[in-house]
């Protein structure tokens, strides 16, 4: 079990929203670097080693590709490194390319992490709070889809074994497909009717339906939320004050001369929080196991 997966869906959603928004809209190199490193760390903690390395390779290659392509099209900047066909390749363009590459790769990695942690039932719970009907329909659909696919396979097999499934010309195949579809339609209708009866038999349609879920709000959820809320707030204040504006052209700003201390520190805490929790948990387990 992953440490993060145990948190309340609302908390997780808030966290990823905050990180992703920052990672997408802030162009400051310090924050971009933090986001990239944080994403890699968390991804390493969540994924198996093999998956991690293949994904990491992909994101590094992606970042590199963006870094290399940007100076080919953008010739802004004041520090030419060398010339290709009489066009300058500038240091600023390379730097900007690296920054954008980093941002794309880190957003991708954050999204992967979100996907791993935020499973379908969590999403359904979040939708279900304000829209219980929609979430029930979701649940019914998720139940129906695998059954439907299985029936489709069964029907086409049965039809094939009766010699009614053409595999030759396109029109024959289209006809077979049509047959399968019409049989599936009949099956779906009868399934819907049976399910409706089963739902009614168990009291669906009575007044005052409630909505059940398995998530409990724990103290750790409050702490996580307060912590991430505070840090995100600092980043937001800093952003509003314009401290995170950064110019790559014509000459790249020297960010070490006027570092965004507050936002940088806050975002650092924010992006490293989950990896810290994951690492803490795995260390704890190692310790327990050695004791057992």
């Amino acid at each position: 079990m992953k440490a993060l997966a145990g948190y309340h869906p609302a908390v997780l959603f808030f966290y990823f929203a905050a990180v992703l928004l920052t990672a997408m809209f802030v162009r400051h190199p310090v924050l971009l670097a933090e986001s990239f490193v944080g994403a890699i760390l968390l991804f390493a903690a969540l994924e198996s080693r093999k998956q991690f390395f293949s994904q990491l390779l992909f994101s590094v290659l992606l970042a590199l590709a963006v870094t290399l392509t940007n100076p080919l099209f953008s010739h802004n900047g004041v520090t030419p490194l060398f010339f290709i066909n009489g066009n300058p390749v500038t240091l600023e363009a390379v730097f900007y390319g690296a920054a954008i590459g980093c941002m794309t790769a880190s957003v991708l990695l954050w999204c992967r992490c979100f996907q791993i942690l935020f499973t379908g039932d969590k999403l359904m719970y979040l939708i279900g709070r304000p829209l219980p009907r929609v979430s029930l329909v979701f649940s019914l659909t998720l139940r129906f889809v695998p059954l439907f696919l299985q029936k489709r396979r069964e029907i086409s097999q049965a039809q094939k074994a009766m010699g009614l499934f053409g595999s030759g010309s396109i029109s024959e195949r289209a006809h077979s497909l049509f047959r399968t579809c019409s049989a599936l339609f009949d099956w779906s209708l009868s399934y819907a009717m049976e399910t409706a009866a089963a739902m009614k038999a168990r009291g669906y349609g009575l007044a005052h339906r409630t909505n059940f879920h398995l998530y409990v709000w724990r103290r750790s959820d409050s702490i996580f939320l307060i912590f991430s809320g505070m840090t995100a707030l600092f980043v937001a204040i800093s952003f509003a004050r314009g401290e995170l504006r950064y110019a790559y052209y014509p000459a790249a700003q020297r960010f070490w001369e006027q570092p965004p201390l507050l936002a940088g520190a806050a975002f650092l805490l924010l992006v490293f929080l989950p990896s810290f929790l994951e690492i803490k948990e795995s260390l704890k387990w190692k310790y327990y196991v050695s004791k057992i």
Binding site: S139, E154, L189, Y191, R202, T210, F212
Partner: protein, 567 residues
């Protein structure tokens, strides 16, 4: 206290002349476990659905139903949903949501319970039913037995006072069915739950129930304690034709059937379990001189279907389902393949039918490689396959259209197929259903109709996956007879089944599928005769007394032979 009382209930479906229920009268006391039995089409499901307000069929109704002294119509919707629980045949179609925990909570959500109390009740029920381990799983990943157990649990979580069950084990394999029945027995014993249980397989459930009601052609002919019903069925105390009695008897346990045919004028009470049956048999046939029957003739036909060293797996990384399986189906034989659930019997059928390709090995049909049958020539008169869900072989809006299309492909003339289907329908006892929609037929009718469709085309090899599922004992006899006749004419039939009694009676050879291949195969007398656990009730009853008697008929025959010797 009386919980349910049915008074002079008659019911007729719209556009039907004959009443489905005729003057049914009975009552059920609180805490009673009552089994309703009877051949399919006798109206037991109709009766059960009428008792559950939400599922009651439309039609003209006379008579009254009282629940706890009040008319069923007076019950509020909430009470009706909460207090009367209903579990039906098909495990698949009652599951509503995608997760197990949500399914358990669904009924309680509808009742509007608070989150805390839902949590408590769901947890309690999951513990009682042993669902904890798959509590968070998706419902589509469960096995059939688990699905049916989940259906029962998600009804029980609403705390009903009476539970109505409509053949809940008919779609399950024997082990899952036994688990389900054990759970029902526990609910009855530990919670004192009132249960009304419709079933046509009585072998297992008779020892659990307090009363049993016997239905025939819309009438409730008797309702009493099992031993008393056993006595009544014997001496013609029931106002029924001998033919109807014979039909009813088929669904009773082997012990009772032996009793009725052997114990003329006996003072012993009717045995119902294997243990009582053994006692009874020892009494009437204490020291048998003749202990074996002559074995039946062996069929030596030329090979129809051969599988040699066949390997199959679904994906590259998944485990092998067939590991070097060898199999031979001869011309003119009925072969029953038995084995545990998920052991790969159906996969073997798929490979044999050419629906899946083995990655190694040789599949030959009449000596010719399977792959050598071009386009659809394999399926035109050579080989037919009946899947488990028989509805999948129908694709048209009426049986007639469906048959017309299929027999057109098989190049049968209209006259020819009509005579053949009529002939089969007469043998299988289904009314003329040509103009009905396949999905509107009852489960048994669908099964028989599908079989007719395949048999009328006269395929030389017939592969059947669980053809006895949902059929009552009488229909099974008819089916077995039709299949044997088909084989006499030179065709071969391969049946995958869980139904040991059926295999013992109708197979020429039986095989046990285990661990990716066929482990043992022999004629049923030898096959079941050597087994101790995986065998028929008749064999268990006659164990130690006779050798190799695996059906009631064989035990009867030996008893008669021995009696004549004594005389």
């Amino acid at each position: 206290m009386e919980i349910l009382r049915v008074k002079d209930l008659s019911f007729t479906y719209p556009q039907e002349k004959c009443a489905a229920l005729k003057d049914v009268c009975f009552s059920i006391a609180e805490g009673e476990f009552c089994v309703l039995c009877g051949p399919s089409g006798c109206g037991k499901t109709t009766l059960l659905r009428l008792l559950k307000k939400e599922l009651a069929p439309k039609g003209s109704l006379r008579g009254e139903i009282f629940y706890c002294g009040r008319s069923l119509d007076e019950l509020s919707e909430r009470e009706a949903a909460e207090e009367i629980g209903y579990v039906s045949q098909d495990p698949e179609q009652q599951i509503v949501t995608d997760r197990v925990w949500h399914e358990l909570a669904f009924g309680l959500e509808n009742l509007g319970l608070s989150r805390e109390s839902i949590r408590r009740r769901v947890g309690e029920v999951a513990g009682f039913f042993g669902i904890e381990r798959w509590f968070r799983q998706e419902t589509s990943t469960l096995s059939g037995g688990q699905k049916q157990l989940l259906n029962l649990a998600s009804v029980m979580v609403m705390r009903p006072r009476i539970l109505l069950l409509d053949e809940p084990t008919s779609q399950l394999d024997p082990i899952a069915a036994a688990d389900f029945l054990a759970m029902l027995a526990r609910l009855h014993r530990e919670l004192g739950l009132t249960i009304l249980f419709v079933e046509h397989r009585l072998e297992e459930c008779l020892s659990l129930c307090d009363t049993i009601g016997v239905m025939s052609e819309g009438k409730l002919v008797c309702m009493d304690a099992p031993a008393k019903v056993g006595a009544k069925m014997a001496d013609g105390a029931l106002p029924l034709l001998p033919e109807a009695i014979r039909r009813l008897r088929l669904s009773f346990p082997s012990a009772a059937r032996l009793y009725w045919s052997l114990a003329k004028n006996s003072s012993a009470s009717c045995p119902l379990s294997v243990r009582e049956g053994r006692q009874f048999l020892k009494n009437i046939c204490p020291n048998p001189k003749v202990r074996t029957l002559p074995s039946g003739e062996e069929i030596k036909g030329s090979p129809a279907l051969t599988l040699k060293n066949v390997w199959f797996r679904y994906e590259k990384t998944s485990p092998d389902i067939l590991c070097g399986a060898d199999f031979l189906l001869q011309e003119g034989e009925v072969y029953c393949l038995l084995g545990g659930n998920g052991s790969g019997k159906t996969t073997l059928l798929h490979v044999a039918a050419g629906l899946r390709r083995a990655y190694r090995g040789d599949v030959r049909i009449f000596g010719k490689k399977q792959a050598a049958y071009r386009s659809n020539s394999l399926y035109q008169g050579v080989l037919s396959y009946l899947p488990q869900d028989v509805r999948t072989i129908f694709a048209k809006d009426s049986v007639r259209e469906d048959f017309e299309e299929y027999f057109n492909v098989c190049s049968l003339s209209k006259k020819e197929w009509e005579t053949r289907t009529n002939d089969l329908w007469k043998k299988l006892e289904i009314p003329d259903i040509l103009d009905r929609h396949p999905y509107d037929l009852s489960g048994g009718e669908q099964q028989k109709c599908a079989l007719t469709k395949l048999l009328a085309a006269n395929p030389r090899i017939l592969l059947l996956d669980e053809p006895t599922k949902g059929l009552d004992a009488y229909a099974k006899q008819a089916l077995g007879g039709v299949l044997q006749k088909h084989c006499k004419d030179g065709a071969s039939v391969l049946i995958v089944t869980h139904d040991l009694e059926f295999a013992a009676q109708f197979a020429n050879r039986c095989g046990l599928f285990f661990d990716g291949g066929i482990l043992a195969q022999a004629a049923p007398q030898e096959f079941f005769g050597e087994n101790r656990f995986y065998t028929t009730s008749a064999k268990r009853i006659s164990e130690g007394l006779f050798l190799g008697t695996v059906t009631c008929e064989q035990v009867e025959a030996l008893c008669r032979v021995n009696k004549e010797e004594v005389v």
